[in-house]
């Protein structure tokens, strides 16, 4: 897992370490309309790269398969609405937890109330992931009941290409689109057994839970939200790309709540130059990463 590649590309160095055998393929669906524009990427890695093209393939499938498009839209509408409902509850729960973390009072009384408030947020996050999973299940069941020949053909073509790959690169970009397209093409089992280098949004989807965050957005700060379960290829980790710019580290309470909310998972920064190495679902080492502490501070991360 790498930090953003635009300012400090580290792909080449990491690839050299991996000693790749076999073709290199990329998943750049997160770039949406710019998917497959690989000139810079090829320059960075110094070898041929072919893109799986799952974003554009999906667009072509939707154009050919109106039933699938209708199902897809229905699911997306439900997910959007569910996210809005989750946000209503989350805002209230987070406001209460934050207020309690900022309150002074008798330590023994306060500590229990703070814990309970954070536990409520954690329960809400878990509930949200379960509700999302139910929507996906319903989609998959209904999809199994319709005939979608174009989708099947395209999926088989993508699987053939992915199976032959010696390395899969997963770029950053729109994390929800990236996750959606990986799932639409049922690439999860293939990715689970392939060497992968993923950066930014690509790294986010590899975790077991995808957490959205931006404290400096133009419309004002929002509380971090769980988007969905990730692919679960790396466990116990919440990767935070662009953490330096996107998180307000000056607000100790805010960061403390962030950290405690997602514990025991580690909230780890992925800025330019950062690397997290993993094998068999576990993190083995890290370079240039910080871990968010329950105090709201951060320190250099040395995984154990």
């Amino acid at each position: 897992m790498l930090g953003p590649q635009s300012a400090k590309p580290s792909l080449r160095a990491v690839m050299d370490r991996l000693q790749v055998t076999g073709p290199v393929v990329s998943i750049t669906a997160g770039w949406r309309d710019s998917e497959g524009e690989l000139d810079d990427l090829r320059k960075d890695v110094g070898c041929p790269v072919e893109d799986l093209g799952i974003y554009q393939r999906a667009e072509a499938i939707f154009a050919q398969e109106p039933e699938l498009l209708a199902l897809h839209r229905e699911r997306q509408d439900k997910l959007l609405e569910l996210q809005q409902l989750y946000r209503i509850r989350l805002n209230a729960a987070m406001a209460a937890a934050r207020k309690l973390l900022r309150t002074n009072g008798q330590a023994d009384l306060l500590r229990l109330e703070q814990r309970a408030a954070i536990a409520q947020v954690r329960a809400l996050d878990r509930h949200h992931v379960r509700r999302i999973a139910a929507i996906h299940r319903d989609f998959n069941q209904r999809l199994a009941g319709i005939t979608v020949p174009t989708a099947r053909e395209q999926r088989e073509a993508v699987h053939r290409q992915a199976r032959a790959a010696g390395l899969v690169l997963i770029s950053g970009g729109h994390v929800a689109v990236l996750l959606n397209r990986i799932r639409l093409f049922r690439l999860e089992p293939l990715l689970a057994v392939k060497p992968i280098i993923a950066w930014s949004a690509g790294a986010m989807v590899l975790g077991d839970r995808i957490v959205l965050f931006h404290d400096n957005a133009p419309q004002g700060r929002r509380d971090a939200e769980v988007l969905d379960a990730g692919l679960g290829i790396v466990e116990g980790l919440v990767p935070l790309p662009h953490a330096r710019d996107r998180l307000d580290w000056s607000s100790r309470t805010r960061m403390a709540l962030f950290s405690r909310r997602f514990a025991p998972s580690r909230c780890v920064t992925l800025d330019g130059g950062s690397q997290i190495h993993f094998a068999d679902g576990r993190v083995t080492s890290a370079i240039g990463c910080s871990v968010m502490l329950r105090t709201g501070r951060k320190r250099k991360w040395v995984p154990r």
Binding site: A63, R73, G172, H174, M204, P218
Partner: protein, 378 residues
């Protein structure tokens, strides 16, 4: 006195060449923290600064500077303020209202152009300027039959770059659309904010009234045009998000009145309203003094104040503190909040003009329609 002018007069009255150099070497008006100095050069009997700032006199005299053809006026101006003005030059009994010949910064509106005074620290937002990296959306005319008005109406429809029929888009309907495009660079702002992922790719319908003073002042035909003609026509032609959360309505000045009025007639239609410097005139007691054009506005706002109700999920409101309308907008704010709507209210050191409304577009649009920036990690 402004230090630059003081320096010019350090050794007595300057000669013509010194004044030429002074004019050439400086930008006007002369701006310093907390103050601004207006300079006029030319023969005149009297020169006035004419500006429309609530609470201040509309005309302030410039003083003739001794031994020269220069006139000057220094006034207080808080940092990052902006207002529009003209100079009134009186000579031989003839009065002329002119833009400031020494100030190249102009703001345009349907009535012409005004000079713009930008206080210390003001900068035009970068997102309102053409960005070569941003892809352009398209603007096309849509002609639709309005049952409300019993005639054809033209609407300019903005489709975002890379528009696709396989996706669904939010819809924003804009009053005084042509003016927003021309004087507030709305098209450029949309291209840029979409490019920056700060708002989602969206469809925008720019409407223009045929008889603004009638249609935008609480005219039920106008509300039916928006709610009964335009929105359904857009929905049948384009892939739009089907619920109110995906729809917004906006306007400035009387356009904001038309927005609130249409939304109050169709309270379930729009999730977002953007109200800029709304002319929400009302009277608590007695008759208002704003002239007969405002009679229907006052009737509508009085009625709304008497029987307020939720008209959207979110409302973005903005008003300049140099506008007389600041009173009406501040009065409306708690009323809207009390209906359970989310209201984001912004006051700025600016006045009733298109550039004020342009400068607020980012805050208003990103708050009303947050973009995918939240989801994008490059």
């Amino acid at each position: 006195m402004n230090p630059t002018v003081e320096a010019l007069y350090r050794d007595g009255a300057p000669d013509g060449a010194q004044i030429d150099r002074f004019i050439k070497d400086n930008e006007f008006p002369l701006v310093e923290p907390g103050h601004v100095t207006f300079i006029y050069r030319g023969a005149a009997d009297e020169v006035y600064l004419r500006r429309w700032i609530s609470g201040l006199s509309t005309a302030q005299p410039l003083q003739a500077l001794e031994g020269s053809d220069l006139w000057a006026l220094t006034m207080e101006l808080p940092e990052r303020s902006r207002f529009e003005y003209k100079l009134e030059v009186i000579q031989g009994g003839v009065r002329r209202m002119i833009v400031d010949p020494l100030n190249g910064v102009l703001a345009h509106d349907p009535f012409g152009a005004n000079s713009v005074c930008q206080g210390f620290g003001y900068e035009r937002p970068a997102w309102s300027l053409e960005d070569p990296e941003a892809s352009h959306g398209t603007l096309d005319s849509l002609s639709l039959t309005s049952r409300a008005f019993g005639e054809q109406r033209e609407v300019q429809v903005y489709l975002p770059a890379r528009f696709r029929r396989s996706r669904t888009y939010p819809l924003l309907v804009v009053h005084d659309g042509q003016d927003y495009l021309r004087y507030a660079d709305f098209g450029t702002v949309l291209d840029n904010l979409i490019h920056r992922l700060e708002i989602p790719a969206m469809v925008v319908a720019f409407t223009q009234a045929h008889a603004r003073l009638a249609e935008y002042t609480g005219d039920p035909r106008h509300a039916r045009f928006i709610g009964g003609d335009l929105v359904p026509a857009m929905a049948t032609r384009l892939p739009l998000i089907g619920d109110r959360a995906g729809r917004g309505l906006m306007g400035a000045s009387l356009g904001a009145v038309a927005t609130l009025h249409a939304a109050s007639e169709y309270p379930d239609l729009f999730g977002q309203l953007l109200l800029q410097s709304g002319s929400f005139a009302f009277s608590d007691l007695g008759h208002h003094k704003k002239g007969p054009v405002f009679d229907p506005v006052v009737r509508f706002v009085n009625h709304f104040r008497a029987k307020p109700h939720a008209v959207a999920e979110k409302i973005y409101m903005s008003c300049g503190v140099y506008e007389s309308l600041i009173y009406e907008n501040r009065s409306l704010l708690p009323l809207l909040q009390a209906q359970g709507m989310q209201v984001h209210y912004e006051e700025v050191r600016d006045a009733h003009n298109w550039e004020n409304w342009r400068d607020r577009l980012r805050q208003g649009l990103t708050w009303s329609f947050p973009g995918p920036l939240w989801m994008v990690y490059e």
